[in-house]
Amino acid sequence: MKANKTEQKFLKLAKTVQSDERVPGGFAARVMAQVQEQHALETGSADEQFLRIARNLPDNERVPYAFEKRIMARLRELLTPDPLTHWSRMLWRAAAPCLGVMMLAMLFSAGEPAETSANLPVDQSEATDFESVMLASFDDLELTW
């Protein structure tokens, strides 16, 4: 079957049209990324496969309802002074100065000449005092009898 004139003209025109060989931007990179991913999946080690799964997981950014209100309520609680906490904090703060005063008192008393029992008369010594205090009730009993 022979083409008529119109068809011949059309074919001639069609042959003159150049083929469109344009490539979308980044097409090669896209294809290569897919190929590499597939290749890694098929040939990659277990840890690489694991990482691939982990990387492909979308972030779950869901926020519980009114979470910001909860946070603000907690912060308000923190800002409200609690008397017990305040008291315990003050006690802790006072602990260091008290310790310091105690140490100073110790040093001061260590520097003072101590009154030993040798300097005192025998009846006034601590041992005698202790004994007399302990036996005071018995002395009273003797007197009563």
């Binding site: 496969q49 492909n56 972030d59 779950n60 519980p64 910001e68 603000m72 912060l75 308000r76």
Partner: protein, 203 residues
């Protein structure tokens, strides 16, 4: 007469402006910061914790700490960087505290329908929520087996694609330490995956 058009007023305050207001005593402005950052923080926390109550706890701690330390923010770096550093460090602390009570054992994580080898070769499509959930479980189970430092480095480097320098800035470690940790983390992760595969073969 030409109608005067009023330009839309942009009253979106920057992070730094909000921080200034909060530090200045306008505590209610902190809520705007919370609303702005909470999706990101939840997304990040869910990479480290699978249990939703743990996630909420750690996010709450992050925002409480942020509020308490807001006075120490000097404004030399963007607030976002300072905040993300604090967030990652808080997650790291929470991971260390949680280390004493592991949530799942290896035997809990053996799937009935498919074996591990098949599961590792199957990237979740994202359309099927069940498939995604199972993939999440798998990732958490493997990452629960590595040390806390390794988990932090793996998450930041391998999952979030951060550079060594960025990780060093976030964690406060030196770049050489991050490199060493990244190498060890990869090794730990490989060992964990292999352990799962070995366990499955034995059963």
């Amino acid at each position: 007469m030409q109608a005067t058009e009023t330009a839309p007023e942009t009253d979106v305050r920057t992070d730094e402006e909000l921080v200034g207001l909060v530090v200045g005593g306008e505590v209610h402005c902190f809520e705007e910061l919370v609303v702005r950052y909470q999706p990101r923080v939840f997304g990040m926390a869910r990479k480290y914790f699978r249990n939703e109550s743990d996630v909420e706890d750690v996010v709450q701690t992050i925002f409480t700490k942020t509020f308490q330390k807001l006075g120490s923010y000097r404004g030399t770096a963007p607030f976002e960087h300072w905040f993300m550093r604090l967030s990652v460090n808080t997650c790291y602390d929470a991971l260390r505290r949680r280390r004493n009570r592991p949530e799942h054992t290896i035997s809990d994580m053996l799937f009935d329908d498919e074996n591990w080898q098949d599961r590792l070769g199957n990237i979740p499509s994202g359309d099927d929520p069940e498939e995604l959930e199972e993939a999440r479980e798998l990732v958490h189970t493997v990452l629960d087996q590595v040390s806390d430092r390794a988990r932090i480095v793996l998450t930041l480097q391998e999952l979030e694609g951060r550079s060594i320098r960025e990780i060093a800035e976030i964690t406060g470690w030196s770049e050489s330490l991050v490199k060493v940790q990244a190498f060890r983390a990869r090794k730990e992760m490989r060992a964990a995956v292999e352990r799962f595969l070995m366990k499955e073969k034995r059963l």
